[in-house]
């Protein structure tokens, strides 16, 4: 366990990192229309300022020795009862700072981009407010020093995601998608809640330092349970199997949202959670295996879905699922993989943001049409967009020297270090990545123009292209920088630990094989979608294509297994409530009323019948007394 450094100097500003965008969100959301004119710029500024502080902190951190790079800041005791205590306290370490920088820098770029993208939206101010809220929550998630506070950030990003997915609320599909995302995430939250509770019951604390300090004393069963629960949480937030189905619907949100939340940052929170809890997963082997299985399944599902979707955003979303599957797989590998999970997360954050923003730029020029079958040959009219998109494309499929190459190859390596099966699956998925990404690029920028009649494609304004360019630069150099210049492995080592296992073959064999597979995939796609004409109407396709278009029937399964039974139960209980429970209550009242109606009939109005009842009563009284006396 590392010693916490007091938060002094620039590190005393940890809370400010969160407070800035939070204040921005509060001002924009509660300030109402009067902030319409300047609000969006304030939104950009707060995130940028946090970014600057983040960079300063990184610099400050680098001046300390690796063991002294964990800073703690406690504001006040937050929740306390009995022996339970959770503080409003933050922890900044090598892992958090990576996220801080990713969130704030990519966040700033996307904010800037949104200035252009959302320029004509009436609710632009609200959009920026919610975007700021997201940044604040995400920062809280990665800076919290205990699981309960992490949960606040966790749910906060979920809220922001919900709000932003259904930003265009007048579209019923958008509203429904937001709701779906939130509810599925809640399933994950159950996992997180239970994990937190189990930690408290086991360790008596929910603070990172406390839990990790004594984790090894707990039984493996308990640790496995905690691990599986955390995995459930991660599945929800990171759209992993079986909680993956919300992510594709989430593309209903504005494209910058898809870029920031549903590609670069929020969906990777699950990876953060697993890596942050590495102590637990390292000690709970079966939980780690489960993580790998989930990662692999999702990796493939995402890739398959991404290969069949004609909607550019949904195809990218499939890709996101798949890439996060890589990260999750890596995170499940143990100390040999944690670092690479984060590495890939970082590079993915950059290039996927670039891809999404590029897609947004394309849509911007195409009247918000998302159907790639209506694109084609756009490289001529959108030069910058096409250029940056292609750079990011090269990064994602893992062509050296773009950053995806380094991070993905590391994961494939690590997979082989663990088991050849995992390695081969990961490697083949890389080939699939080559296929679907090439398909996307080909359909969008190459081939013949299949534009709709009223489409007048044009390049986006500078406010949108400049972030694209910056991200493309990042996608080009980040990988190299983190491998050759500042070694991410040694940077993260104090947090995650690092382990290497000797492989059977020299490493270039794996690299080359992967590359070849990618190129094969890319070539198939190129032949199919750039050389041949792409029909405007989607062909019927094979069963696999159709299944992939249906997102591998994830929604249908959910519907049949969960949604419909829930509604049946609900209706059944409503019926029971009305007829059974309320029926009993009203029935009792009706019974008394009916009894009353019957009894009053005995009051016949005939004096003689009254006399009879008196005589009868008298006889009974006599009998009663006689009987009592006899007995």
């Amino acid at each position: 366990m590392t010693e916490l450094m007091p938060a002094e100097g620039v590190f005393s500003l940890i809370w400010v990192l969160i407070a800035l965008p939070l204040a921005g969100a509060a001002i924009l959301l509660f300030g109402g229309r009067r902030t319409n004119s300047w609000g969006p710029y304030l939104g950009v500024l707060t995130v940028a300022a946090s970014g600057v502080i983040g960079v300063l902190m990184l610099l400050g951190m680098m001046q300390n020795s690796p063991e002294q790079r964990t800073y703690g800041q406690t504001l006040f005791t937050w929740v306390f009862s009995g022996s339970f205590q959770a503080d409003m306290a933050f922890q900044l370490d090598q892992l958090s700072i990576i996220f801080v920088l990713l969130i704030t820098i990519v966040g700033t770029l996307i904010h800037v981009y949104s200035l252009g993208y959302m320029a004509h939206d009436d609710n632009r101010r609200k959009f920026f407010g919610e975007l700021n809220l997201f940044v604040a929550a995400m920062l809280l998630l990665v800076l919290a020093n205990n699981y309960l506070l992490l949960y606040v950030g966790w749910e906060g990003v979920g809220l922001a995601s919900y709000l932003l997915i259904s930003f265009w609320q007048h579209k019923p599909s958008a509203a429904a998608a937001g709701k779906k995302a939130f509810i599925i995430n809640r399933v994950g939250d159950v996992g997180l809640s239970l994990a937190i509770m189990l930690m408290f019951v086991t360790f008596g604390s929910v603070g990172f330092q406390d839990v990790f300090g004594v984790a090894d004393q707990a039984s493996e069963g308990t640790l496995t349970a905690i691990g599986l629960l955390l995995l459930l949480a991660a599945c929800g937030k990171s759209a992993q199997f079986p909680l993956q189905s919300w992510l594709l619907d989430a593309m209903e949100g504005p494209t910058p949202v898809s870029a920031l939340i549903h590609a670069a940052t929020m969906v990777t929170a699950g990876v953060y959670l697993i890596v942050r809890s590495n102590v637990i997963f390292t000690a709970a082997e079966w939980a780690a295996v489960a993580v790998i299985v989930v990662g692999l399944i999702t990796m493939w599902m995402g890739a398959i879905i991404g290969s069949a979707k004609d909607d550019i955003k949904k195809s990218l979303a499939g890709s996101t699922m798949s890439q996060i599957g890589y990260m999750i797989t890596a995170a499940g590998l143990g100390p040999i993989g944690y670092v690479f999970a984060i590495f890939h997360l970082l590079t993915h954050g950059v290039f996927k943001a670039g891809l999404f923003l590029g897609a947004g730029s394309v849509m911007h020029g195409m009247n918000d049409n998302v159907n790639m079958r209506r694109y084609g040959a756009l490289r001529g009219v959108m030069v910058i967009t096409a250029g940056t998109f292609i750079i990011c494309y090269l990064a994602i499929i893992g062509i050296p020297p773009f950053d995806g190459f380094f991070s993905k190859d590391d994961i494939i390596h690590a997979s082989f270090e663990r088991s050849p099966i995992i390695g081969i699956l990961a490697m083949l998925a890389a080939g699939l990545t080559g296929f679907y990404m090439t398909r996307m690029v080909a359909m969008t920028f190459f081939g013949k123009a299949r534009w709709e009649d009223d489409a007048h494609p044009h390049e986006s304004p500078k406010v949108m292209t400049i972030p694209l360019i910056i991200l493309a630069i990042g996608a080009t150099f980040l990988g190299m920088a983190l491998v050759y210049w500042g070694n991410i492995e040694s940077w993260l080592e104090p947090v995650t630990g690092v382990e290497t296992v000797e492989l059977a073959l020299p490493s270039w064999v794996y690299e080359l094989t992967t590359l070849v597979l990618v190129l094969i995939g890319a070539a198939i796609a190129w032949v199919s979608y750039a050389r041949r004409d792409v029909p405007v109407e989607a062909p019927h396709g094979s069963w696999l294509t159709r299944a992939a278009r249906e997102e591998l029937y994830g929604n249908q399964v959910n519907d049949a297994l969960v949604v419909q039974p829930t509604y049946y139960t609900s209706r059944l209980l409503v019926w029971f409530d009305n007829k059974g429970v309320d029926g009993f209550v009203n029935g009792s009242a009706a019974f008394v009323g009916g009894l009353s109606g019957r009894l009053r009939r005995y009051q016949t109005g005939f004096a003689r019948s009254y006399a009879l009842s008196m005589v009868g009563g008298a006889v009974l009284v006599v009998l009663a007394l006689v009987l009592v006396r006899m007995s």
Binding site: S81, S83, Q85, W154, E155, S166, H170, G207
Partner: protein, 518 residues
Amino acid sequence: MTTFPWLTTLGVVPLVGSVVVALLPRGRGLLAKQVALFFAVLTLGLTVAMALQFQGDSSEPFQFVESHPWIPTFGISYSVGVDGIGLVLVALATTLVPIVILAGWNDVDEDGGRGTVKGYFALILVLETLMIGVFAATDVFLFYVFFEAMLIPVYFMIGRYGGVQRSYAAVKFLLYSLLGGLFMLASLIGLYVVSAQLTGTGTFDFLTLTGLEIDPGTQKLLFLGFFFAFAVKAPLWPFHTWLPDAAAEAKPGTAVLLIGVLDKVGTFGMIRYCLPIFPAASEFYAPVVIGMALIGIFYGAFVALSQSDMKRLFAYSSMSHFGFIALGIFVFTSQGQSGSVVYMVAHGLSTAALFLTAGFLMARHGGSSAIADYAGVNKPAPVLAGFFMIAALSSLALPGLISFIGEFLVLLGAFERYLWVGALATVGIVITAAYVLRLYQRTMTGPVKPELEGMHDLRGREITALVPIAALTIVLGIFPAPLLNVINPAVDRVMTSVGATDPTPTVGLGTTVEGTDK
């Protein structure tokens, strides 16, 4: 410790206000509202002044204690005092009353209704007095008197000022509550007789009663009467069916006071009276109560999912929430019980936010509470939709809001004691999210209904009523220490009186979290 009779003053002020309002001439509706608001705000001010003098770490079980003999023949005294639990609930009541008055400003008009404007506001103030009394009483008989007397103003508020089915709802409410109350009366009498047998002179003094060593068999009988009354009041499954009707027919303001504060008396009674006076019986019945609570959590949520009426939905949702509260109380952990009390406050606030916002919405569309009558409200009335969102989030216990702290502590407390109970209850949060967001989706989003185009957004008065609720929900969620500081010692005392201790962690560890040196 001051000797100023804080609690009596607190109770008398709204009563005086009520009399003043009632004596105003008919037709001076505006003046009646203003006077009522003045007295309500005055009461709130006094509450704040009192709360500031409350000593969280005091060793006395009750503070601001007053005691005068009332009916010595039966050992009854006028004794009031609050512990942390009582204090926060009194504060909840006095906070919500001015808000409800402000929010219900135009709910009653002089010509349309059966009752007068001043009548409605006078009833609210009477109710406030009784609510303060019920939370402040430390004599069980006095508590009972307030407990039952509260029914009457609410009965009139529903029956006179409610919707179409108001009479049915009001009578159902009254009789169901009375049924509970009368069984409690039977137990109360039994308790008195038992105390007379054990101490020589019968008494209703709470502290004396908690010190009695009542035979467990007797406890089990007496417990039932008390618990039944509280379970009806709260309401727990299956004693809940009065609530949807009452909530659906009542004015939003009435519903807020009814569900937000009054029903808390049920759960308050459980933690204040059932547990300390009948520790053995509480332990004996805990599995049953926990079962009822669990069923209630899911039952309420599932039924809420299919409701087509907003107010009924809120009612079933409350039932689900009350399941959580009861669960927290009966798992006998300090987290569970502290959580329950926090939950009570949080639920009061979220109910208020939901009902009032929905009330504002309904007032803009002919008073209809059918969900199907609304769609896309977000467009014409974004501020309203925003408050509705906050209310909804508060209801589904979004972390960062006060309701989360209550819910989490309750679940944690349950989980600690009975792992599977806690785990099962946690699943409930998914369904909660489902019905809350479904409601939001149906009413606030989508294409605007043509007849809702041009709907006015919230105005100053309405916003003023909602802002304090929203602010408290958020601020207390981030900084709940003012609540927890006073609640925890009271809960500790309850724990001591039932002889329960928290389970200890399986892996030994200090109780501090990194970065604090408490």
